[in-house]
């Protein structure tokens, strides 16, 4: 005989009590807070979600250093970095809106589900009012939509897929970094000038949102220059040995290899391509060339001398000579003993831009902050005059075409700026075919 007699009435009663109990906290919170995680105390918490393992872990480590430096500067410690050169002067080094800036970190593991879980924990457990970081567009898109649902601002870190501010754009998400379309638009004329108009190219492409949009953009612009695509082969993000993908390139008749790979992927694929003798090869009577559309200093370091002479594009480079860059390199270099990477710069700038917008809005309410960021024009943060376009929350600025340095003067002198492509050459309409399909939607503050 059971001691627990389960009756319909009993079940209903228990269910109602349990339901009321569960609903209780939300009833209180929703009336007490005007928006998600409104900071009530003397401090405000930012959440930095970066890959600390996986193929993009190098970039993640550098992003985290930049975030920590930005927080220091916002709180009035250190030399202030780019706060001194920033065209907006509302940040005073006393935190944001008088509150001391604190931060929590999460490990995205370069995986969308892990990134969402760590962002969720920072929002729900730690009360983060803004999430930034991410070194993969797959992760950025996933976390951006999570932030949209939670009523939190997402200040994207290093994400280069067209989709982040294209078909997957969200009202709560903002991107400072450039995108695949801009890379291709800036690179195409330089490539056809250097390597000629009559070229056949083969692409290896990381098999996720960034790789796809990078490959599509390169195909469009290179075919526009008269180049012919032989094949575009997708490689899994987790690949480390690319030999079986590289072998068919040699017999395909292509004379250019475009590696739509980033981070550890690119270090491996480029190194192995060089090992297979591709840079010493003559095909169709021409020198075989390798192109890496998106290059970072950290990848250049990983690839060693294999990067020499390789063309690609970057969002920013520490060797630029503007005042913002000089201030940032000095500040970061003194702190960590190495110059910052482009991933570090974009994350530092995003943190400053967020703080500045909150200060100007007089609130951490994501809708108020978002309004200040939309259409915001600024300068002095290393990229020259920049616009945060309201229609898609994408920053527009000059794009750098970079080339691996043949004669490095020191360990960090790995990339030369070959050309600065002015912003109007890489500008596009928000409904451009590579970006169409998504809606920003309405800003959500979680109330």
């Amino acid at each position: 005989m059971s001691r627990f007699d389960l009756t319909r009435r009993g079940l209903l009663r228990t269910g109602m009590i349990a339901g009321a109990g569960l609903a209780m906290p939300t009833v209180f919170t929703s009336s007490a807070y005007a928006y998600t995680n409104e900071p009530k105390g003397k401090s405000v918490t930012l959440g930095f979600n970066v890959p600390q393992s996986g193929p993009y872990a190098d970039e993640g480590a550098d992003e985290l250093k930049a975030f920590k430096l930005a927080v220091k500067h916002l709180n009035g410690e250190g030399d202030g970095g780019m706060m001194g050169t920033f065209s907006s002067k509302v940040l005073k080094g006393n935190g944001v809106l008088g509150k001391k800036v604190e931060f929590v970190t999460g490990d995205t593991q370069t995986k969308s589900d892990a990134a969402r879980a760590s962002a969720k924990s920072m929002i729900e457990k730690d009360g983060a009012v803004m999430i930034s970081g991410g070194s993969s567009s797959g992760v950025a898109v996933a976390v951006q939509s999570l932030c949209q649902e939670a009523g939190i601002i997402f200040m994207a870190g290093l994400t280069h897929s067209n989709d982040t501010t294209g078909k997957d754009k969200k009202a709560n998400g903002f991107r400072h970094f450039f995108d695949a379309y801009m890379s291709a638009a800036a690179l195409a004329p330089v490539l056809s000038k250097q390597y000629g108009k009559d070229r056949k190219f083969y692409m290896l492409t990381a098999d996720y949102t960034w790789g796809w949009t990078q490959a599509a953009s390169m195909k469009e612009f290179m075919e526009g220059e008269g180049w012919q695509m032989v094949k575009d082969v997708k490689t899994p993000l987790a690949s480390t040995d690319f030999s079986s993908y590289l072998a068919p390139v040699l017999s395909s008749g292509a004379d250019v290899l475009i590696l739509n790979h980033y981070g550890g992927n690119m270090v491996n694929s480029l190194t192995q391509a060089v090992q297979f003798g591709m840079r010493d090869k003559q095909v169709n009577g021409k020198q075989f060339e390798i192109v890496v559309p998106l290059i970072s200093e950290l990848m250049a370091k990983g690839a060693g001398k294999n990067i020499q002479g390789i063309l690609g594009s970057s969002n920013w480079n520490w060797k630029l000579q503007d005042e913002g860059t000089k201030a940032f390199v000095k500040s970061y270099g003194t702190e960590y003993g190495v110059p910052p990477s482009q991933a570090a710069q974009t994350c530092y700038v995003q943190t400053l831009l967020y703080a500045d917008a909150a200060e100007r809005a007089g609130s951490f309410d994501p809708c108020a902050v978002g309004k200040e960021l939309e259409g915001f024009k600024f300068d002095g943060l290393g990229n020259g005059p920049t616009l945060y376009r309201a229609a898609d929350h994408q920053c527009f600025k000059d794009v750098l075409v970079v080339q691996g340095n043949d004669k490095p003067q020191n360990d960090y002198d790995l990339l030369n700026v070959a050309e600065i492509t002015p912003v109007d050459k890489v500008m596009y309409e928000p409904d451009n075919k590579f970006f169409a399909g998504g809606e920003l939607g309405k800003c959500n503050n979680g109330a």
Partner: protein, 343 residues
């Protein structure tokens, strides 16, 4: 044609790593009857022996060079390795250059000791337990080893280059009558293939031509009878565990120039190596080696664009498809013996 030759080489190269790991797995399974899921981690530790060797040889002291400037305009810090200081610049640089082959000297004793400790300290207690328990405990051990390496060396791949003399590639095509630069293959991958053949040969000769090997083989066939003859078979099996660990460790140490090692690399190989063992036949050493090379080559052929255009994505699943076919048609694997893992 040249694509097929290149992929054959790629396949043999991948197959070398599969075969070496599968060989160690089979040695352990055949002698001790333990399914060792920590074997991939042993491969990874071997790779990190090479990293440690490289780090050790590169230990440096710092001098300030006021004539040169770093990126902030301060005097440049020049790092000079102690090895160059002690042995002179040229000899020191040559030693550092050869750090990967030299790391074998570190990997063998480290892996033997690690093997003994693992077997005596942990695995010994699981001989009489079901295979599921053995798998769980060795898998747990693999995770522990991985996390330790991650703590010490970080999560990022660490570039560990081959000696400069072998960093280039060999124009194989020119040797066999193809036009120049048609079939070019990296030296180090060829060396890895030859190295693995050498290790496999050594293990087989050891088992075949030494008294020790004879006793081990007898023990594999009938452990109780060998014990009744007054031979301490347990001690020999412990040594076999150490040898299997050393084989995995050498395979890992020599692998690092092909792919920069990270803490997770063992897991990537482990799963495939188990498939290799099953396809080759549980407990069969020649089966493990043959299946290793076979699956490596088939995987490489599946990566040919001509094949992928017929069946997209086949290169990702070919190994498992083969495993399914072999298990359906020959449930004991290619060279499996009757009575192994069967009741």
């Amino acid at each position: 044609m040249d694509a097929i030759i290149l992929q054959t080489l790629n396949g043999l190269d991948k197959g070398s790593a599969y075969a070496l790991i599968a060989l160690g797995l089979t040695l352990i399974f055949g002698t001790l009857g333990v399914v060792n899921f920590a074997h991939g981690a042993l491969f990874m530790i071997g790779a990190f022996c090479a990293v440690t060797m490289q780090r050790f040889l590169n230990l440096s002291y710092t001098l300030l060079d006021p004539t040169k400037k770093d990126f902030l305009g301060n005097p440049l810090k020049v790092q000079t390795p102690y090895v160059e200081h002690w042995f002179g610049h040229d000899t020191g640089a040559a030693i550092i250059n050869w750090s990967v082959p030299l790391s074998i000297l570190l990997a063998i004793p480290v892996m033997l000791i690690l093997g003994f400790v693992m077997e005596r300290g942990l695995i010994k207690h699981f001989y009489k337990r079901p295979h599921a328990d053995q798998i769980l405990v060795t898998f747990g051990l693999a995770i522990v080893l991985q996390e330790i390496v991650k703590q010490v060396f970080g999560a990022n791949p660490i570039p560990t280059p081959a000696p400069v003399e072998f960093s280039g590639s060999l124009d194989i095509g020119a040797l066999i009558g193809f036009p120049a630069n048609a079939i070019v293959y990296p030296y180090w991958r060829l060396i890895y293939f030859l190295f693995s053949l050498g290790v496999i040969g050594a293990v087989f000769s050891f088992l075949r031509f030494t008294t020790f090997g004879m006793v081990v083989r007898a023990g594999m066939a009938d452990r109780e009878t060998v014990g009744l003859l007054g031979i301490n078979i347990d001690r020999r099996f412990t040594l076999m565990f150490g040898i299997a660990a050393a084989v995995a460790g050498m395979a890992g140490a020599m692998y690092v120039p092909i792919n920069s090692p990270n803490y997770h690399m063992g897991m990537d190989f482990l799963v495939i190596s188990f498939v290799v063992v099953v396809v080759g036949g549980m407990g069969s050493l020649p089966g493990a080696v043959a299946a290793g090379f076979l699956l490596g080559v088939l995987e490489a052929y599946a990566s040919l664009n001509e094949v992928k255009s017929i069946i997209p994505g086949i290169d990702q699943i070919i190994i498992y498809v083969i495993a399914i076919i072999v298990l359906l048609t020959r449930p004991r694997g290619l060279m499996g013996r009757r009575g192994v893992m069967e009741d």
